[in-house]
C-alpha cells in the first residue's frame, strides 16, 4: 500500500488506463452476479412448475449474453491494466539506463556490474509485478469481494451471509499462521540450497586439487550430506506448504455446509426460496478467488516496495562530474596545461594521494610519453584529462587556458580519443565497433582507421570481413586484435588529442612499429599522449614524463633522459635510462635486434 503511495508520481501518468481497468473490473463483478441470480429463478420456476418457455429463453439468453459481455470486459481490463504496467516498466527501465549513462566513473568504482544488473532485472521485475498483478489482485479482490458480499446480503439474506462467513476469519488466521511458519522454513531451505551450490562450486573450481589429492570420495560425501540437508529442509517446507490448499477447501466446505443447513432452516421458515439458496451457494464459490488473492498480494507489494526503495536510491544518485551552469564549448586551442597539487580518488580518507605536484604543459600537436612503474599514477593522469573525476581546489587542468570544469563535458570529450588499457568492445559487427564514436561513418572511413591501426588485413581474413559479429566484449578476438580495434575506433573519432593508455601491450614488436609509424605521420596535427612501459616506443617523443608514486621523477626527451650518468643499482634515479637499456637487451632480443640497431628502427618509425 505504501508502495502505491510512493509510486503515485509514476502511476499518475497512467491513471486513465487504470481507471478504465477498474471500471471494467467493477462491471465484470456486477455482471458475474447475474447468472447465479438467473439460475436461482430458474430453480424456483422449476420447483413451482411455473416456468414458461419465454421466461426460460430469457434466462438462458441472459446467461449467454452475460458470458459474452464478461469476456469482452475482461479482455479490456486486462489489456488496459497490464498494458499500463508494461508501459510503466518500459519507461522506468529506460530511465534507469539513461541514469546509468550519466553517472561518473566514481560510481562504477563503488558498484559491481553484477549488483547493478540485479537492480535492472530483479528490482524492476518486482516493481512490474506490483503495479500489474499486484494492483490487479488488490483491486479485484476488493471490488469482486465486496460486490459478491453485497449481492449475498441484499439479494439473498443477511443472516445467511453472516452464518456462511463465520469460518472465514478463522481461515484468514490459519493461513497467516502457515505463512509465518513457511517463512522461516523457507529461509532454511534457501540457505541449504545455497550451501549446496557453494559446495558444488568449490569442488568444481578446485577440481585440480580434488583430483590431485584424491578427494573425490570426500567431496561426494560432503555433497551428499548437504543434499540430504536440503531434502530435509525442503520436506519441512512442503509439510507446511501443502497445508494451504486443503485448509482452504476445508473451510470453504464448512461454509457451504453452514449455508445449506442455515438455508434449509430459513426455507422452512419461509424466509428463503430454494432458488435463492442456489444463487447463494453459487455466490459463495465466487468469494473463493478474492479471498485467496487478498492474502497473496501482500507479499507482492512487500517485495515491490523493497525493490522500489533500492531503485529510488539508485536513481537519486547525482553524477559527480556534470556540466557547470555557465559551462562553455571547448576551445579550438587544444593545448593542455596541467597543474595538480594533489589528487586522490577518495578525498575524505587520508590515504596517500595518487598524484602530487604534477605540473606540465602539452602543446597542441605534441607527442608526449608517460612512463613509470605499475601503480605510479599514469592512468590516473589520463583519467583526469578525460575529466572522469574533478580536481580539488588548487589543482587544475586547462585546455586553451580554460579549466576543464568550465567546459561542457560533451565538447571536451569530443576533443579527446581514448584507448583504454583494457580494450572494451561491444557485441555487434567489427565495423559497428570501429564506427562506435561516429555511427554514421562510411565504410571507407572505417577501413582507413583499421589500416592505420594495422588490423585491416586480419579483418579481411575473417569470413565475414568487417561484418564479422563479435561476441560479448570481443570474446572471439585475441588480446592484440582487441587492442588494435580499440585503437581503430579511437582513430576514427578524429579527435584532436589521442590518449593511449598502454594500448599496445599485447602486440608484437613488428605490429607495434607499424602502428607507431602511422601515428608519427599525424605528429603536429594531433596531440598524442602515450602511456607505456615499453620505453623504445618513446624514442621520438617530444617530451617524456617518468612517474613514480604519483610524482614526476624525471622528464625530458629520450636523448636527455639517456644522457645521464651510468645508473646506480636499486635507486629510482635514472630510472628511464636503466630500464631502457635492460629493455633494449631483452625486449628486442626475439627480433635479433642488437642495441645499436634500436635507433635505426625508431628512425624508420
Amino acid at each position: 500500500m505504501k508502495l502505491l503511495w510512493k509510486l503515485r508520481f509514476i502511476l499518475k501518468d497512467y491513471w486513465q488506463q487504470y481507471l478504465l481497468a477498474f471500471i471494467c473490473l467493477q462491471i465484470v463483478s456486477a455482471l458475474n452476479l447475474l447468472p447465479p441470480w438467473l439460475i436461482g429463478h430458474v430453480v424456483d420456476g422449476i420447483k413451482d412448475k411455473s416456468l414458461t418457455n419465454q421466461e426460460l429463453f430469457n434466462y438462458v439468453a441472459g446467461i449467454v449474453v452475460t458470458g459474452v459481455a464478461v469476456y469482452g470486459f475482461r479482455y479490456v481490463w486486462r489489456a488496459k491494466l497490464y498494458g499500463a504496467s508494461i508501459e510503466l516498466i518500459r519507461k522506468q527501465r529506460s530511465r534507469l539506463f539513461a541514469h546509468f549513462t550519466q553517472l561518473s566513473p566514481e560510481f562504477y568504482q563503488q558498484h559491481t556490474t553484477g549488483d547493478l544488473m540485479a537492480h535492472a532485472t530483479n528490482d524492476l521485475n518486482a516493481v512490474e509485478e506490483s503495479v500489474g498483478v499486484g494492483i490487479m489482485t488488490l483491486v479485484d479482490s476488493l471490488i469482486a469481494g465486496l460486490t459478491v458480499l453485497f449481492a449475498m446480503v441484499f439479494l439473498v439474506s443477511g443472516k445467511l451471509t453472516l452464518l456462511a462467513m463465520l469460518p472465514f476469519p478463522l481461515l484468514v488466521w490459519v493461513t497467516k499462521r502457515y505463512g509465518v511458519a513457511l517463512y522461516s522454513r523457507f529461509g532454511r531451505s534457501q540457505a541449504a540450497f545455497s550451501n549446496l551450490n557453494e559446495e558444488t562450486r568449490e569442488s568444481i573450481t578446485g577440481i585440480r586439487a580434488v583430483k590431485a589429492h584424491q578427494l573425490t570420495d570426500r567431496q561426494t560425501q560432503r555433497f551428499e550430506q548437504l543434499s540430504m540437508e536440503a531434502v530435509e529442509a525442503n520436506t519441512s517446507v512442503a509439510r507446511v506448504d501443502a497445508l494451504f490448499g486443503p485448509s482452504i477447501s476445508l473451510f470453504f466446505g464448512l461454509s457451504f455446509v453452514l449455508a445449506l443447513v442455515g438455508g434449509a432452516w430459513l426455507i422452512s421458515h419461509g424466509q428463503l426460496t430454494v432458488g435463492l439458496l442456489t444463487s447463494f451457494t453459487l455466490y459463495l464459490s465466487q468469494m473463493l478467488g478474492p479471498m485467496l488473492q487478498f492474502g497473496w498480494q501482500f507479499n507482492v507489494f512487500q517485495r515491490g516496495s523493497a525493490s522500489w526503495g533500492r531503485l529510488e536510491k539508485l536513481l537519486s544518485r547525482k553524477p559527480k562530474v556534470s556540466n557547470a551552469p555557465d559551462a562553455q564549448q571547448a576551445p579550438d586551442d587544444t593545448s593542455l596545461s596541467i597543474n595538480i597539487q594533489s589528487f586522490s580518488y577518495n578525498a575524505a580518507s587520508d590515504e596517500k594521494p595518487v598524484l602530487q605536484g604534477i605540473s606540465t604543459e602539452i602543446a597542441a600537436g605534441a607527442f608526449i610519453g608517460i612512463t613509470g612503474r605499475t601503480g605510479s599514477g599514469k592512468s590516473t593522469l589520463l583519467r583526469l584529462i578525460l575529466r572522469e573525476f574533478d580536481l580539488p581546489e588548487g589543482s587544475f587542468i586547462q585546455m586553451g587556458n580554460i579549466p576543464l570544469q568550465q567546459l561542457t563535458v560533451e565538447s571536451l570529450r569530443e576533443k579527446l580519443a581514448w584507448v583504454p588499457q583494457e580494450p572494451m568492445l561491444f557485441s555487434g559487427t567489427i565495423a559497428d565497433n570501429i564506427r562506435f564514436s561516429a555511427p554514421d561513418a562510411s565504410l571507407e572511413a572505417v577501413e582507413k582507421a583499421a589500416k592505420l591501426a594495422a588490423i585491416d588485413e586480419e579483418i579481411m581474413g575473417f569470413k565475414d570481413g568487417y561484418d564479422t559479429l563479435l561476441g560479448e566484449n570481443g570474446i572471439n578476438l585475441s588480446g592484440g586484435q582487441k587492442q588494435r580495434l580499440a585503437l581503430a575506433r579511437a582513430l576514427l573519432a578524429d579527435a584532436e588529442i589521442l590518449l593511449l593508455d598502454d594500448a599496445f601491450s599485447a602486440l608484437d614488436m613488428k605490429t607495434e612499429a607499424r602502428i607507431l609509424k602511422n601515428l608519427m605521420a599525424m605528429k603536429g596535427k594531433k596531440t598524442i599522449i602515450l602511456v607505456t612501459q615499453r620505453l623504445p616506443e618513446l624514442i621520438t617523443a617530444d617530451h617524456i614524463l617518468v612517474l613514480d608514486r604519483g610524482r614526476i621523477i624525471e622528464q625530458g626527451n629520450h636523448d636527455r633522459l639517456m644522457a645521464s650518468d651510468q645508473p646506480e643499482e636499486n635507486t629510482t634515479e635514472h630510472w628511464y635510462a636503466k630500464i631502457f637499456r635492460q629493455q633494449a637487451r631483452t625486449l628486442l632480443h626475439p627480433l635479433e635486434v642488437k642495441p645499436d640497431t634500436v635507433i635505426k628502427r625508431s628512425d624508420v618509425a
Binding site: V43, E198, T216, V354, L425
Partner: protein, 609 residues
Amino acid sequence: MIANDEKKTSGYRGLARLVRYAKPYQWQFLGAFLILLLATSLEMLAPWLMKIILDEHIAPGVNDTMGLAMMGSALFGTYLGSAILQYIQNVKFQENALKVVHDIRRMLFAHVLRLPMSYFDSEPTGRLVSRITNDSEVLRQMFVGVIPAILQAFFRVVGIFIAMALLDVRLMFMTAMLIPVMLLAIHLYQKISHPVIHGVRSQLANINTRVNESLNGMRIIQAMGQEAHLQQQFDKDNEEWSQLKRKNINIDSLLLMPFTHLLNGIALAVVVGWFGYQSGFSLVEVGTLYAFINYLGRFFEPFRQITMQMSSLQQSLVASERLFQVLNEETEDTQHGQSKNQTDSPEIHSGKLEFNNVTLSYDSKNMALDNVSFTVEPGQFVAIVGHSGSGKSSVINLLMRFYQHQEGQILIDNQPLTSLKEDTLRQGLGLVFQEPYIFSGTMAENISLNHDQITDEHVQAAARKVHADPFIQELDESYEHKPGPGGKALSTGERQLLSFARTIAQNPKILLLDEATANIDGETEHHIKEALITLRENRTTIAVAHRLSTIQDADQILVMDKGRIVQSGTHEELLLQEGHYRDLYLAQQTEEQLGTTQQPGLTMAAANA
C-alpha cells in the same frame, strides 16, 4: 520441422529416463497415487451429497431435522476426508520427489568429479554448478507438479463424467463436446503464444545483455560521448519488448482464463436451458440441476491446471536433456581404459621419473609438448622454467594424469604411468599449487583431507614441520578453526603453509611444485623458503617456477620454449650461456623494476588506478 520432431522425441526419451530414477520409490509413488485417487473421489462425492440434501431435505421442506444434520455432517466429512487425503498425497509426492532429485544430484555430482580434466577446460564453472543444482531442482517440479497435476486432472475429468452420466447421460455427452473445444483452444494457444513468449524472453535477454555490456563499457561510452546513441538503441529494444509483451498479454486474455470462463458461461446456459425445457413435461429435481452446475464448474479446473503445468513440463524436458548430456560424458576411468579391480598395480618406491619423447596437444592443433625427454633421479631437485605457454605446466598435467599424452612414454620407477592405479599415483605424487586450494571444513581437515590413515598427531606434526603450527595455534579453536569459503581470511602465505603441511602429511615420494612461490608476500617469505627445504627432504622434486630466485639451488634446470626443452643445466652454468635463461633472468629484473611482479602495497594502488 523434422529436426524439431527429433528434438521432441529426444526430450521425451529423456523424460522416460527420468521416470526410471523414480523406480526405487515406485511403491511410495503408487501409494501417493492411490491416495490421490481416493481424495479426488471424495471430492466428487460432495456435489452428489448436496443434490441429495437439496432434493430430499430442503426442497420438500424440512421435517427430518436429524436427517438433515446427518447429511450435513456427511458432507462436511467428505470435505474433511478429502482435505486430509490431499495433504497426505501432496506431502508424499514432495518427499519422494525430493529423494529422486537427491539421487540424481548425487549421481551427477560423483560423475562430474570423475570427468577428465579437459572437460573442465571447455565448460564454465557456473554452467556446471547450475547443471548439478538448478537443473535438478527444475526436475522436482516434474514429480511434484506435472505428473500429479496430469493424473489428478485425468481422475477429475473421469469422476466428473461418471457423476454427470449418472445425473443425465445426454447432458454428459453434450458436455463431452467441450473437450475437443478446450483441447483446440489449448493447442491454438500454444501455437500462437509460443513465438510471442519466446520473443519476449529473447528480447529481454537482449536488453539485459545490452545493459550488462554498457555497464562494463560505460567509461568508453562516456569518453566517446555515445550516451545518447546507446540510449536510442536501448529504447528501441525496450519498445520492441513492450510491444511483444503487450501482444502476449492480449493472447493470454483472449485464450486463457477469460475464454474458459466464456465456455463455462455458455455451457451453463445450455444446462439451464435443457433442465428448464425438460421440466415442462417431466419431473426435474432441482438438486440434479444444482449438482450438474457444480460439476460443470469443476470441469474447467483440470484444463487450467494442465495449461499451467505445460511450461514446467517444457522446462523439465530441457533440464533433463542438459543433465543427460553431462551424464553421457565419458569419465576418466573409462578413458584411461582401466578396470577398477586391477590387482597387480606397482607401487612408487624410490621416485625416479622419466619422460621419453613425450608429445602432447590439448586441441590436436597446437603442440603443448613437443618430443620432450628428461630423467630425474630419486631425490633430485629439478626446476622447469620458461615463458607462460612454453609447456612447463603441461609436464605436471601429464604426471598427475590430468591429460593423456599422444606420443612417447612417461615412466615412474621404470613403470609406465598408465599401469599405476589412480590411488597409488595420487598418493605418490604430492602437488603444491600456485593458489593453494582451501576446502571448507576445519584447518585439521584441510591438512588431513579426511584421509583415514592421517591422524591428528600426524596433522600437528606436519604443521610444525612447515612452521604452520604457530599461526594455526593463534586462530580461534586452532586446528578446529574453519577458514570459511576459499580460506579468504587467511593470508596467501598462510594458505601456502597450510598446503605444505597437507603435502607433508601425505608424505609423497615425488613432490610437484606448480609455481608454488609465485605469490608470496614478504612477511611469510622466510618461513616458506625454510618450509620448502623441509618439504624437499628425501623426495624427488619437480618445480615449475616463474621466479627464478626460488630455484637457483636446483640440481638441474630445464628451460622450455614452445613445448621443447631448449636448455638445461644448473643456474650458474645457464647464466654463463647466451640464451633463453639469461634473457628470462634479465627480463625478470626489469619486471621487478617496473613493478609488474606482484608487490604488496603497490597492488592496492594499481587496483585503484
